[in-house]
Symmetry: D2
Subunit: 145 residues, 4 copies
C-alpha cells in the first residue's frame, strides 16, 4: 500500500486530493533544506490545485471566495532538494456553517515531511464579510472528508 | 500607551522582543495583500533578530542550534503594502528540558494582523539529535517570558 | 565622503534615489549568500519606493502605469546576511518617447554588490498598449538623470 | 515545427536543454501575472536541472563550482497562472577560458514569455578565485552549443 492517498474506494477512507510538486532550488535555505516558511507555499498550491485548477481541467465548478483564517504545521523531517517530486495530500476534516478545516500531509512514498491543518472561511468579497457555505460548496467538500 | 511592547518595566509584563520590518512589494499576492505564507518569513526574521543579530550587535552570546518543530498562526486582518514599518513582537511562553515555545504578534500601533506561536527544539547538529537547553540558553530565554 | 549618493548638489552628478533595506534570512540560499534572483526584488522595492512610496509620503504625484521590459545585472561581490542595512541607488540614464532606462547600484558604504539597469515602458493598462511618457512623468524623471 | 527545442538531430541546430515547470500561485504579484523577479528563479531551476539533476538521474558527471556573473532578460509577454506547464529552453552560446554564456527562452508551445542570457564563471570555492574550465566541463557544455 505504497500510496494510500489513491485508495479512494476503501470504505471509511476519505478521498484525499493529491498535489505533486517539485522542490525548487530557491526553496532551500542556508541550512541546506527546505525553509520552514516555504511549506505553506506548498499547501497553498495544493489548495489552488484542489479548488481551482483541477475543477477547471475537469469541467467542474470551482471553489472561490475562501480566505485562510488559521494554519497549524508540524515539521516531521527535513525536506531536501532532489529530482523526484513530493506531494501534498489534502482532505477535509470539519465543516461548519461558514468555515471548514483541511488536513494535509507533505510526503513522498517513504516519508512524511510535515503534517498541517488550516481553517478556511467563506468570504463575501463584495460585502467584505464572512458568509455561509453554499450547498454546492458543501457537496464539493464532502467528497474529500 | 502607543507601544506597549516597550513597557518592559511593568510588573507581570513579560519583556517582548520587537523586530521592525517593511513589507516588500513582492510579499503582496494577486489578492492585493500580504500572502499568508509570507507571515512566517516575518516571524523567522524576528527570531533571527532576537537570537542572533541583536545579541551580536550588543556583544551578548547568541542562541544557536535551534530548529522549528511547529507553528500555529491566526490571521486577524489583511496586511497591505505601505510606507510605514510593521513589527513583530515576540516573547517566550513555555520552557521545557529540550524545547521552548514562542508567542508572536504581527502588528503596528493600531492593528494586530496576526497572532502566532512556535515550538523551538534544541538540536545537536553534529550528533543529529535533540539536546537539553543549556543554562545560558535558559537564562537568555527567561528574560523574555 | 561616506555617502556619495547624497551629494546631489555637485555639478554634473545626477541625483540618485536611495532605498535602504535589510537582507532577510530567507534571501540567503544554500550557498550562504543572497541568492542572485533576490537582487531583482531589491531593485523592485527601490523602484516602488522611488515612484510610489516616497512621492506619497512627500505629497508629490506618483509614477504609475510602467512595466519592466528588460533587466541587466552584473554581480560584483557576494552579499551576506547581516544586521546593517544595504541600499539601492537608482538614477535615470536615458529617456525616450515611450520608455526610459534606470541604472542601479546595490551597495553599502564599503562595497558595490551589483550594478544593474532596467528599461521601463510606459503602458496604458486600459487599452493594453504602450503609450508616450507625459510631461509630468518626464519632469519627474529628469530630476534623477 | 512547434517544438524546435526537441529537434536535436537537425544539422546546425544546437541541442537545447528543456526544463518544464509549473507557475506557483505565489509567483503571481498584485498585478495578476508572474512577477518579473521570479523569472530568474525559473532560469535558476533550469540551470540546476541541466547541470545537476539530469546528469545525476542519467549517471553522468555533474557540473559544479559555477557562479552567476551576469544576467540579461527581456520580458516579451505576461506569464499567467494556469494548470499547464511552461518550459525553459537553455543552450550554450559562448565558451571562454574561465566562463561561458547561456541563452534561454521561457516559453510554451504558443508563446515566448521571456528571452534571457547569463554569464557563468568557473570558480574554485576553496581558493576563492576564478579558475579555468576543465576539459570535462567543456565537453559537457559543447553538447548544448
Amino acid at each position: 500500500m505504497a500510496q494510500p492517498a489513491l485508495d479512494t474506494d476503501l470504505v471509511g477512507e476519505p478521498r484525499k486530493h493529491v498535489h505533486e510538486f517539485h522542490v525548487r532550488f530557491g526553496d532551500i535555505d542556508s541550512l541546506g533544506h527546505v525553509n520552514n516558511c516555504r511549506y505553506l507555499t506548498y499547501l497553498e498550491d495544493a489548495r489552488i490545485s484542489m479548488f481551482f485548477t483541477d475543477p477547471l481541467r475537469e469541467g467542474r465548478p470551482q471553489l472561490r471566495g475562501l480566505v485562510v483564517a488559521r494554519h497549524e504545521i508540524d515539521y516531521k523531517r527535513p525536506l531536501l532538494f532532489g529530482p523526484d517530486p513530493v506531494r501534498v495530500e489534502t482532505w477535509v476534516t470539519e465543516m461548519r456553517a461558514a468555515s471548514f478545516a483541511l488536513a494535509y500531509e507533505i510526503r513522498d512514498d517513504e516519508h512524511v515531511y510535515a503534517r498541517a491543518s488550516s481553517v478556511m472561511v467563506a468570504y463575501d468579497v463584495e460585502r467584505g464579510r464572512t458568509r455561509r457555505l453554499t450547498e454546492a460548496e458543501r457537496s464539493f467538500l464532502e467528497a474529500y472528508g
